[in-house]
């Protein structure tokens, strides 16, 4: 039995268990359009769990989604399916049995870490670590490359998403509003540090310089401080 099959079997088992224990669970769709609040009336006494996030706009509990006794609410572009009344937190979704065979990404890396993957040797687009200043290092930048292989800061969580405004992952032109913005500028080659005015996730909101502002290269974050260098000048957003 290969590790993949084992995982598939495990997941299938989990799926069957869920089906037995969470018969009264139902799934509702609740979507914030144009960034506005949306209230979705439902009996929440059996608990609410975000079962599938549909928007790249963030869905953060008690921030852009939440619930009280008789409704689920979403805001600021969060669109998601919510499982209501399900007791089992392990119900990973109907797709699990299929998806388990299609192990994606990091989990697969661990599960099959010992399995030699010959196909990667044939991959012409193979990730070239020598070009990656973060290799070993390596936060694995392969997750952050666009389809043509270049690093793409649009992968940054909560990056202003208007370029995808009408995509299935956004909604009706809503790109999400930062809760706060601040400027931080590197003049010439000088590195500069700026305090982040409040808690939250920081991303480039509007780049002001011709020099690129690229996460990890010309800007970055250290705790509650943002640094810029190599001429990166930008308005940063705190979400």
């Amino acid at each position: 039995m290969t590790p993949n099959r084992m995982l598939a079997a495990l997941s299938l088992g989990g799926l069957l268990l869920c089906a037995a224990s969470a018969v009264q669970a139902s799934t509702i769709l609740c979507e914030s359009r144009d960034g506005s609040y949306k209230y979705c009336p439902v009996d929440t006494r059996g608990g609410v769990r975000l079962s599938r996030q549909l928007s790249t706009q963030g869905c953060w509990q008690n921030d852009t989604w939440g619930f009280d006794a008789n409704q689920v609410w979403v805001s600021r572009g969060c669109r998601a399916e919510f499982e209501v009344g399900g007791q089992s937190p392990g119900s990973a979704g109907k797709g699990s049995a299929v998806a388990a065979a299609a192990v994606v990404g990091i989990a697969a890396a661990a599960i099959i870490a010992s399995k030699h993957d010959d196909d990667h040797h044939k991959n012409k687009n193979k990730y070239d670590r020598t070009y990656d200043p973060y290799y070993d290092g390596a936060y694995d930048r392969s997750y952050d490359r666009s389809y043509d292989g270049r690093y793409d800061h649009r992968y940054d969580d909560r990056y202003d998403d208007r370029y995808r405004e009408n995509s299935r992952y956004g909604y009706n032109g809503y790109g999400g509003d930062p809760r706060w913005t601040f400027n931080c500028e590197s003049r010439g080659d000088r590195k500069n540090y700026c305090d982040v005015p409040r808690h939250g996730h920081v991303e480039v909101y509007k780049q002001r310089s011709l020099s690129p502002c690229t996460y990890g290269r010309s800007w970055g974050k250290d705790g509650h401080t943002v640094w810029v260098k190599d001429g990166c000048r930008a308005e940063f957003a705190v979400y």
């Binding site: 661990a110 969580d157 808690h199 939250g200």
Partner: protein
């Protein structure tokens, strides 16, 4: 990291210094700056990546969109070279749980390191 905060990052860091994998991951995913990755932080980060990859907006990563690095030896994916958003979404909690060793719903420093290390191991096994 704590030292950097304490010093208010007043001292420039050496250029080109290798960044710790797990820490870099936390920097990017850790929205509330608590040093840990929650399922919610993980989910948002990964959905964002999927959406950005899906250039033709059809809810499936295939062809050039399909990240070869995500294959990780999964038989079906190697055969079909595609993954749907539904499959991907369903995987996220499973992936997260696999690394949440103490089942507290957070990937702490050690768990994040294991998470990052798993990918590195795969890189080296090529």
């Amino acid at each position: 990291m704590l030292a950097a905060i304490a010093a208010n990052a007043a001292e420039p860091q050496p250029a080109g210094k290798p960044v710790d994998t797990a820490q870099a991951m936390r920097d990017r995913m850790d929205r509330n700056v608590d040093g840990k990755i929650s399922l919610e932080e993980y989910r948002n980060a990964m959905v964002r990546r999927f959406g950005a990859r899906d250039v033709n907006d059809d809810g499936v990563l295939d062809g050039d969109e399909f990240p070869k690095e995500w294959l990780a030896g999964a038989d079906v994916q190697q055969a079909t070279g595609k993954v749907s958003f539904e499959q991907f979404s369903a995987e996220l909690p499973l992936v997260f749980d696999a690394f949440d060793a103490d089942k507290d719903g957070q990937l702490d420093a050690a768990e994040t390191a294991a998470f990052a290390g798993a990918r590195k191991t795969r890189e080296e096994s090529r």
